[in-house]
């Protein structure tokens, strides 16, 4: 019956209704017919008894005298008087068992023995019903002063009784059939009407798997107060809550981004400030000893190198936090930028960096989300590593894509962090106080079709591995230039 469960409700309910109706009508029909049968048989017995009573009272004197004609005359007249009973043939025998007279003397001639169709029938009862022939047979012994003087045998046509039964059967079949169809139809329409809200809800739920869940529009809402309406309202509330949550997540993520920007900015201020001291010294040297060519050249070259450093830092920051409108391919320069961006943090924590970059040419992956993801992971690793520890970055280019591993010498990633990183459908960790950055990482990686897994690094701490598929090499994209600054 598994296939039955697979059928829609609008088919199943009418089918069950029809089955029940059929079961009911079979039972009812059987009862009706058997009752009808009993009633007919009772009537037949009563009528047959009346027929025999009437005949025997008028026949006894004639049979006693052996008056063939009078016996025949009585039978012949009785034939028209008992039309309701439809006697076909009546035979009267005398005490010797031979026929005195019959309604049809050609079939049962006077003085001949009783035909077998009568003689063989009455072993147990004085009435015998032969449904196959549509005939009933009755016998009545004629007695006078305690002596058996003969007997009456009668055959009745009961085809009208069978016809009546057939007629009742037909009527039952027809009316039950129509009723079944009607109820099944009502069942179909009623179920259709009832499951309509479920179908709407189902469609919305299915759609929400592929895209952002949409609330059910007001035009499709059932009338207020109904069960379906309450369900729809709950669904809509859920959808709205989910959307609010999504919005909130994005907002929080943005705040998180800005917060990390602030942290970076202070690092970068150091980065810019450090060369600034040297630059001012160089400027001072030029002011004072600018006449001396060798000194001046050395100082200018010093200033130039310092400004280059500042320019690189500023450019890297700009690329990260103000992504270009048209996505650029991810290239070696992006990795260099990342190194530049985390340098202040490394320095602040006295961390060592293991740098292993295999990427020589840009790959066809949008650079902004990947940069953001790797930067977040690197900053996370800096946080996780103890002072004087090590942070590792390894970029491997293979035939099918790009593998980026970020590792550290820390304690390894906590369980919930691993969950956030590896579950592509997991909700944003709102209210837990942490993990939002990791959730952003996963979102970015999922956006560009990549996967994340977490491992143990040979540095001792955690290792996060990003696998980014690269479909084709696109040589159209040139090497990134810094003109965007």
């Amino acid at each position: 019956m598994r296939w039955f469960g697979a059928l829609p409700l609008t088919v199943r309910v009418p089918a069950v209704v029809a089955l029940l109706m059929i079961a009911v009508s079979v039972t009812v029909s059987e009862h009706v017919l058997s009752r009808l049968n009993e009633t007919q048989e009772r009537h037949l017995r009563a009528l047959g008894g009346a027929y025999m009573d009437g005949l025997s009272s008028s026949l006894v004197p004639h049979v006693l005298r052996g008056d063939v004609w009078e016996v025949f005359d009585v039978l012949d007249r009785a034939r028209d008087r008992y039309e309701a009973l439809r006697p076909i043939e009546t035979v009267v025998t005398g005490s010797d068992g031979r026929i005195v007279a019959a309604t049809d003397p050609t079939k049962a001639p006077t003085l001949s023995p009783l035909p077998v169709e009568f003689s063989d029938r009455f072993s147990t009862s004085d009435i015998a019903i032969d449904s196959s022939e549509d005939r009933a047979y009755a016998r009545r012994v004629l007695a006078h002063q305690g002596q058996t003087i003969g007997a009456i045998y009668a055959a009745f046509d009961i085809s009208h009784l069978s016809a009546e039964r057939a007629d009742v059967m037909r009527t039952l079949l027809l009316s039950n059939g129509l009723l079944t169809l009607l109820l099944a139809g009502i069942g179909y329409f009623a179920t259709r009407r009832m499951v309509m809200p479920m179908r709407i809800l189902g469609e919305h739920l299915r759609n929400s798997l592929d895209s952002v869940p949409e609330p059910i529009p007001a035009s499709k809402l059932p009338r207020p107060g109904s069960e379906a309406r309450r369900l729809f309202d709950s669904f809509n509330t859920l959808v709205r809550a989910e959307r609010e949550r999504e919005d909130l997540t994005l907002k929080l993520a943005e705040e998180e981004r800005l917060a990390s920007l602030g942290r970076l900015a202070s690092g970068m201020a150091h980065e810019i400030n450090n060369p600034l001291g040297g630059l001012f010294n160089a400027l001072d040297t030029i002011k004072r000893h600018g006449d001396t060519a060798s000194v001046r050249e050395t100082a200018v070259s010093l200033v130039e190198r310092g400004l280059h450093g500042i320019r690189d830092v500023v450019a890297a920051a700009l690329h990260t936090y103000r992504p270009d409108r048209s996505p650029r391919p991810f290239g070696p320069s992006d990795i260099e930028d990342l190194g530049l961006l985390i340098r202040p943090e490394l320095r602040r924590r006295h961390l060592d960096l293991q740098w292993d970059n295999d990427l020589r040419d840009p790959v066809d992956v949008p650079n902004a989300p990947l940069r953001q993801a790797v930067l977040n992971l690197l900053l996370n690793a800096c946080n996780a590593a103890p002072d004087n520890g090590t942070v590792g970055l390894r970029v491997v280019r293979s035939e099918t894509g790009l593998t980026i591993e970020i590792s550290d010498t820390g304690e390894g990633l906590p369980e919930d962090a691993i969950g956030i990183l590896t579950d592509p459908a997991g909700p944003a960790p709102i209210g837990t106080g942490s993990g939002l950055g990791l959730w952003m990482v996963r979102r970015s990686v999922t956006e560009i079709g990549g996967t994340i897994d977490v491992d143990r690094s040979n540095l001792g701490g955690g290792l996060v591995r990003l696998r980014i598929p690269v479909q084709t090499f696109s040589l159209d994209h040139g090497v990134r230039t810094d003109d965007a600054a």
Partner: protein, 299 residues
């Protein structure tokens, strides 16, 4: 027939006491008869044998009405199942007149007197038929040996005596010639018995058979005539010999003779398919008497 019962009970006492029923009957008759006061007169008791369609109530009421008007007497029609009963009533003087059969007439010829004889097809004669079922392949009376044979009445000429005499000619009796014989006490019943197959053959009044063929063609049509007898005297209306010439008997004779000229009388004749009635001498029944003698000598 309550009226005949009254007549039967009264007759043995021979008095003229008017019972309550008789009074009512008389009033009824007076109302029917109209102008002529008939209450005081002794009614004529007229017997009918089942010689013909005696179960036809319309015929009986018309015959009664006609006879009452034509004779001026109240008339009681008396019917019985057998010829024997009517003949006994007539011979014992309990009936003033009766339509009997030629056979009882010759049996009691010395005690009876003829009143009138019906005329059928212009003659006071009729025949006896031997009939079989229409589809039976026999053509002669000799072929009926071993039959179940239906007689009309043991005192009927056409329905018994003719066949009995024929068998006597062959040295047979009904018991020796037929397998068994049954009596139906009515010529029409003989036709029914043969038509239904209850009897293989039957002896029937030729006049009745012809009338039935006319009135119920499908009944008579189910039978076929195997033998017709010689022409014999039609069943007559007779009266006890001692009443011959009595006024009521003369009135009956006149009423019967005058039937043709009267509308109701003609209706009765039409229903009976008869031409009328005429007076004949007793010699008309000599051939029947001869047959009677023959079977008496045969035993």
């Amino acid at each position: 027939m309550p009226r005949s019962d009254t007549a039967d009970k009264r007759a043995p006492h021979g008095d003229a006491r008017i019972s309550r029923r008789g009074l009512l009957t008389g009033v009824g008759i007076a109302l029917i008869a109209g102008r002529r006061p008939v209450l005081a007169q002794t009614p004529i008791r007229f017997g009918l044998t089942p010689v013909f369609l005696n179960n036809d109530l319309e015929l009986l009421s018309k015959l009664k009405a006609y006879l009452e008007r034509a004779t001026g007497y109240p008339v009681q029609l008396v019917t019985r199942r057998t010829y024997q009963e009517i003949t006994s009533l007539l011979v014992s003087g309990q009936l003033e007149a009766a339509w009997i059969c030629g056979y009882p007439y010759v049996q009691y010829r010395d005690q009876l007197s003829l009143v009138a004889v019906p005329v059928w097809h212009g003659k006071p004669l009729y025949q006896s038929y031997l009939i079989v079922k229409e589809d039976r392949l026999v053509n002669a009376a000799e072929d009926l040996r071993g039959d179940i044979h239906a007689f009309s009445d043991p005192n009927s000429n056409s329905g018994f005596l003719v066949t009995r005499a024929l068998l006597a000619d062959w040295g047979e009796t009904p018991d020796s010639f037929f397998r068994t014989s049954i009596y139906t006490y009515g010529h029409r019943n003989v036709i029914r018995a043969v038509a239904s197959g209850l009897a293989d053959s039957g002896s029937v009044d030729g006049y009745v058979w012809e009338v039935v063929r006319d009135v119920e063609p499908e009944l008579a049509g189910a039978t076929r005539i195997v033998r017709r007898s010689e022409w014999l005297g039609f069943p007559p209306i007779a009266t006890p010999a001692r009443l011959a010439g009595a006024p009521e008997v003369r009135a009956i004779a006149q009423a019967l003779a005058g039937m043709q000229g009267d509308p109701i009388g003609q209706d009765v004749l039409d229903m009976l398919r008869l031409d009328g009635f005429e007076a004949t001498g007793p010699e008309l029944f000599d051939p029947i008497a001869a047959m009677y003698d023959k079977i008496r000598s045969a035993g």
